[in-house]
């Protein structure tokens, strides 16, 4: 398998055969096509999830105002053009679910793990292309179920994306906890299956299918990041699944895993002896690694993009790998920092403070290494580079506010306030999206053999960057004032109603930023068919293997033999040469690094 000659025989000819539309575009087993399927499904979800945020921001920015158009579209959920509480909470819940899982997990790792792993390690496809196809179709099924839950009588899940029981377990407690919640659980179960099929495949492929000479220490950082991401997902998603299955039992079979001593709407429930907090442990055992599942691929791609476009090697390659590893280990040991105020044993709390703040060390290493990478470089500001720099800026800002929240003493005050919302949107939401955008702008030529329009890319970056800070920076102050998150109207509160103008400003900026994302989507689909054609195999002058394939690689990626690798991926600017591809043997007079 190492030289790939065996598969080459089979695939080399395979490419010339006629492929039906269905086997090429729908039930494709080509990792590149599956990556595109993940991306396009992810983009679709991002539009839906983004639209949800615009709707609930309308309520937050202009409480009490009527928007008749909402009634036109949403009927009884927005009677008289006013967003009903049930509708508001359904929007908030689905926004979180969709963006965290369907966009930033499946859309991000699904896309780039599929696209980049075989191309960058020098393999013709994944270890199991069939499993890979299943992975997409389970994700598709999950999407269908989740989408259909939006259209049922009682509405979709509305207890927050964290679906804490008893709220999520009791249909009596909330409309969204009726059928919508069952569908949510089923959709997530399918999603977990998809993510496991994908993850196992990524790990197997990276470990077993690297081309000759591609030792682990020569892997590009994108691959390292995707490798650790897959490990995180494989180890933590099953825990979520088990938690959700217990929840399904509590909902439908009368068990008491999470339920105890409950009187809901005057109805006395028989359940005794369960623990509502147990669910939070199970949920966050996935939930915290989940944020790294989102951010690690973004980190990997940003490392690659910054190095290529600074025309300089990534600084501290081994430290970058080591810090990814450290983050992966620590990711499993910090979940209870989401639970400091649940009545957790204070001693246990203090242990989680220590472990949580420890993550700041590998994170700091990464930031300093990125900054040193661009230092004394020769930076080309493609949209991908800009999004990479934006990512680092946001990661710094959001990472530092994590030090506030991870410290239990401060967390007592700002837990579950708008401060949390601001923090995780910057460090995980927007930064994750920026990593994804950097990846899309950088690898679009590889995906479609065409370029995205640069001017639109620059507008996209600048509006999104400025907008993200305008939206989320001032939100920290709302949190410092103690304003709880998920409050749809603050007018009855004496302590929290002083931010009316701010909320209005945030809403207006949100609408503008959303409009610009639509412009990006337009750019994406337009350029897919009509964009400027790529004429050279290596448009960015990059070292990695994907740029040694033809402009539009067929199934099997390389027409001839898979190239052999002789060096790491980051020989930029070495010995006066602009770049030295990984496939070039080490020269006799070449200096050592």
């Amino acid at each position: 398998m190492h030289s790939g000659t065996g598969t080459h025989e089979a695939h080399g000819h395979h490419g010339h055969h006629h492929q039906s539309f269905i086997s090429k575009y729908i039930f494709s087993q080509d990792h590149k096509m599956i990556g595109k399927q993940f991306l396009i499904t992810g983009i679709t979800w991002a539009i839906i999830g983004g639209l949800f945020s615009v709707l609930f921001r309308l309520q937050l920015g202009f409480p009490g105002q009527t928007f008749p158009i909402l009634e036109t579209f949403f009927g009884r959920w927005a009677e008289g053009g006013v967003i009903k509480p049930e509708f508001y909470y359904a929007l908030v819940t689905m926004h979180g679910t969709v963006l965290v899982f369907f966009v930033l997990t499946a859309g991000l790792s699904g896309t780039f793990a599929n696209l980049l792993i075989p191309l960058q390690i020098g393999a013709r496809d994944m270890a199991s292309p069939f499993m890979n196809m299943l992975s997409y179709w389970f994700f598709f099924l999950a999407s269908v179920v989740m989408l259909s839950s939006l259209f049922i009588q009682t509405g979709p899940a509305s207890g927050g994306w964290t679906v804490y029981p008893p709220l999520s377990a009791l249909g009596q407690a909330s409309e969204g906890s009726k059928l919508g919640m069952d569908l949510w659980i089923v959709a997530m179960a399918l999603f977990v299956v998809s993510s496991l099929l994908g993850g196992l495949n990524y790990i197997a492929t990276i470990l077993n299918m690297r081309t000759k000479g591609m030792s682990m220490t020569r892997l590009p950082l994108t691959i390292w990041a995707l490798f650790f991401t897959a490990i995180l997902g494989v180890l933590s998603f099953p825990v979520l699944l088990s938690g959700l299955i217990l929840l399904l039992f509590d909902r439908n079979l009368g068990t008491s895993f999470y339920l105890s001593d409950i009187v809901v709407n005057g109805e006395i429930l028989p359940n005794e002896g369960g623990s509502a907090i147990l669910f939070q442990h199970l949920f966050w055992f996935l939930g915290h690694p989940e944020v790294y599942i989102i951010i690690l691929p973004a980190m990997g791609m940003v490392s690659e993009v910054l190095s290529v476009n600074s025309r300089k090697p990534i600084f501290g390659y081994m430290a970058m790998v080591g810090s990814l590893f450290a983050i992966t280990i620590l990711a499993f040991l910090v979940w209870a920092h989401h639970m400091f105020v649940t009545g957790l044993n204070p001693f246990l709390g203090s242990v989680f403070v220590l472990l949580t703040l420890l993550i700041a060390v590998p994170s700091a290493i990464k930031v300093f290494n990125w900054i040193t990478t661009i230092w004394r470089g020769s930076i080309r500001f493609h949209p991908a580079t800009l999004f990479g720099i934006g990512f680092v800026s946001l990661f710094i800002s959001g990472g530092l506010t994590g030090i506030f929240l991870g410290n239990s003493t401060i967390d007592i005050h700002i837990h579950d306030t708008m401060f949390v919302v601001a923090h995780f949107h910057i460090v995980m939401g927007v930064a994750g999206m920026f990593g994804m955008f950097a990846g899309i702008y950088h690898w679009f030529p590889k995906m479609f053999g065409r370029y995205l329009n640069n001017t639109l890319g620059f507008i996209h970056f600048w509006v999104t960057m400025i907008g993200a800070y305008l939206i989320f920076w001032p939100m920290h102050y709302q949190g410092l004032a103690g304003m709880p998150r998920r409050y749809m109207d603050k007018s009855i509160w004496v302590s929290f109603n002083q931010f009316g103008d701010l909320d209005k400003m945030i809403t207006i900026v949100t609408i503008i930023v959303f409009a610009v994302q639509l412009m990006f989507v337009f750019n994406y689909f337009y350029s897919m068919f009509k964009g400027r054609k790529v004429t050279t195999t290596n448009p960015w002058g990059a070292n990695t293997l994907e740029w040694t394939t033809p402009v539009n690689p067929g199934h099997g990626n390389w027409e001839g033999e898979i190239p052999e690798v002789h060096r790491w991926a980051y020989d930029y600017g070495k010995d006066g040469r602009e770049f030295i591809p990984q496939t070039e043997p080490i020269g006799a007079n070449e200096s050592k690094h």
Partner: protein, 349 residues
């Protein structure tokens, strides 16, 4: 109609932007791609510098605008510790924030592509790696040290003599219970809950007979007297959020939780301090609890011991509301009814 116009304008703006973008592609081909790429490179590098400068000014401006709106000084002893920890963290992180952001954007600007400079091949430097591993580690040790020290102070056992009060959340209201003269909360069992017994108190437990139940009214606390809250919930998870005291604790059905603090300012003092005649300590529900989550509001009045005693003297135990004839202060009317009530209690055992 208005909507139509907005959509039309947006579409138009969209089309214009797109046409410009497309035209710029053609222009760059005509003018020479390399040349026009270098020019946009300069523009973007400059924009990054501007973003840094305007951004830092914006951070200052935002702080000036909003710092007056974040509740002022804390109103509890623990609040002082929490705010101190907050300011220590702000001081350390702000330095890091400015240094790293300045480095990031300044380097981006300074090391933009240039024909006069070759990129510097600099793959690693172990000493640098050690430096920026150790320095953050030291800073974080300081933060963890302070944090855990304060954390144990705040979450430690409540002092003896603290006033005890039970806070119960349910969709979407707060209920309170004082233990009464005996200082002991009577036992309760959730299956005994009914319209006349909202907390499910067991009336056969004599400790229940003097417990004071409050609903729909503010909770009263005594200034400078520690209060120990026993927190519970009836239906779903709620959270007792006390922004002015900087305190917070989840209310979990089936698992009682607790927290304690000492209020240091009376409501009257706070009215004076904030200059707001409508000032009131509020209890916010901080854990998503259903469609009325945003409106689950309670109030607290902090007053002097005398004021509190006067208020407490007016409160009647719930027991007497359920069994009016056992109320020693109420006139005895019918002994037969009294007997029936006793029988009912005995029967429920």
């Amino acid at each position: 109609m208005e909507t139509f116009f907005i959509v039309a304008i947006l579409t138009l703006g969209f089309l214009i932007t797109f046409q410009i973008a497309k035209a710029s592609e053609y222009v760059s081909v005509i003018r020479g791609e390399e040349k026009s790429r270098k020019q946009t490179n300069k523009v973007n590098a400059f924009m990054l510098l501007i973003f840094l400068i305007v951004g830092l000014i914006g951070v200052y401006y935002c702080n000036e605008q909003l710092k007056g709106k974040i509740l002022g000084d804390p109103a509890s002893d623990h609040g002082v510790l929490i705010d101190r920890m907050l300011y220590i963290t702000i001081a350390i992180t702000f330095i890091v924030f400015v240094l790293t952001q300045v480095a990031l954007f300044w380097f981006s600007f300074k090391y933009q592509e240039s024909d006069n400079r070759k990129p510097y091949y600099y793959p690693h430097n172990n000493r640098l790696e050690v430096i920026w591993t150790v320095i953050p580690a030291i800073a974080l040790t300081v933060l963890v040290g302070f944090g855990i020290f304060y954390w144990f102070k705040i979450t430690g056992p409540a002092p003896k003599g603290a006033m005890e009060v039970e806070v119960i959340g349910s969709q979407f209201k707060w209920e309170f219970r004082y233990p009464g003269k005996d200082g002991i909360f009577g036992k309760k069992y959730y299956k005994k809950t009914d319209g006349n017994n909202p907390l499910g108190q067991l009336w056969e437990d004599p400790a229940n007979h003097d417990d004071i139940y409050i609903v729909g009214e503010p909770l009263h606390l005594v200034v400078n007297k520690p209060v120990h809250m026993i927190i519970g919930a009836k239906d779903v998870i709620h959270d007792v959020g006390l922004a002015h005291f900087r305190m917070k604790m989840d209310a979990v059905p089936g698992t009682p939780t607790r927290m304690w603090f000492t209020p240091t300012k009376t409501t009257k003092e706070m009215k004076k301090e904030t200059g707001r005649s409508d000032f009131v300590y509020e209890i916010s529900c901080d854990q998503m609890c259903g469609s009325g989550h945003w409106s689950m509001r309670g109030e607290i009045i902090v007053e002097t011991q005398e004021e509190f005693d006067a208020w407490m003297a007016q409160q009647k135990p719930k027991y007497y509301a359920v069994f009016p004839d056992r109320d020693p202060s109420a006139p005895k009317t019918d002994t037969a009814a009294n007997k029936t009530a006793t029988a009912a209690v005995a029967g429920s055992n």
